[in-house]
Symmetry: C2
């Protein structure tokens, strides 16, 4: 099975990976959250090739993660902006950032998060909505649904 089959997986992590799980797409998402809107800026700030950038932007637009908005008629110009679907990836990018800050950096973080509501620079984290306690890998257990478990049993027994 190839990368192009990922969107058809039952697992939503596989499906999400297929949409945004590659190096350059994640870098584009970073830029979008930092406020970058134009082709040339993405190009310089990510230092990716223009070929790849236009491919990825097209893909993200098709998926509804970003939208093109015209900001000038003559010459015809437009900018790229996050849709609600795209904005909702914030948690993923922040989680990745915190992990990178913690495990891959020696210096201070290059990007801080400010909470507009309270005005503080913060390091957001995940909590359990029921008991309100902080949550991590150690206190979570994955429960696989019946149909998905069956599907997995089948492939494990396969040739």
């Amino acid at each position: 099975m190839s990368r192009s089959d990922l969107p058809s997986h039952t697992c939503t992590i596989a499906r999400a990976s297929a949409q945004v799980g590659d190096e350059w797409t994640l870098l584009i998402m970073r830029e979008l959250f930092l406020g970058t809107r134009r082709f040339d800026d993405f190009l310089r700030l990510t230092s990716m090739s223009s070929h790849l950038l236009s491919q990825r932007l097209r893909k993200l637009e098709t998926q509804g993660v970003i939208r093109r908005e015209p900001y000038s008629e003559r010459p015809p110009r437009h900018e790229y902006r996050l849709t609600e679907k795209g904005l909702d990836l914030w948690t993923v990018i922040i989680a990745l950032k915190q992990w990178g800050d913690r495990w891959l950096s020696t210096e201070d973080t290059p990007v801080q998060i400010m909470h507009k509501v309270c005005g503080n620079v913060v390091r957001p984290h995940m909590i359990c909505p029921d008991c309100g306690e902080r949550m991590g890998a150690h206190d979570a257990e994955a429960k696989i649904s019946e149909p998905f478990q069956m599907e997995r049993q089948a492939v494990r027994r396969a040739p």
Copy 2:
């Protein structure tokens, strides 16, 4: 600049992307969090090629995200397990899963999260550690550090 230069970026999101930001690595991470430990199981459950799987496992081991643990001397066998660094990616995988559940799925989620502390199936979310309120893209603002801002200005003005 190419993919291989990502680890040298100042930005920790770029660095994190370089380590775990690709489709197959994310799928391997999913499996690790679901409890998969052995080569053949990864192979069947992700349906990736064995060549790529062994490459990725080697890379993840080198990076310290997973470790190989022997579980049998004869025949020599070992399993792959998450290190602390790997376990700390939980938030990223969960964030990706929630996003996939919300935007890419029609049916019920194939994997639920149970909080061991309170015993409930939950959808964890991010909060501001200072004021305790739920946080998302709309109420966050990115603050770019002085040195990183300078670096970015430089590339924007570049040829």
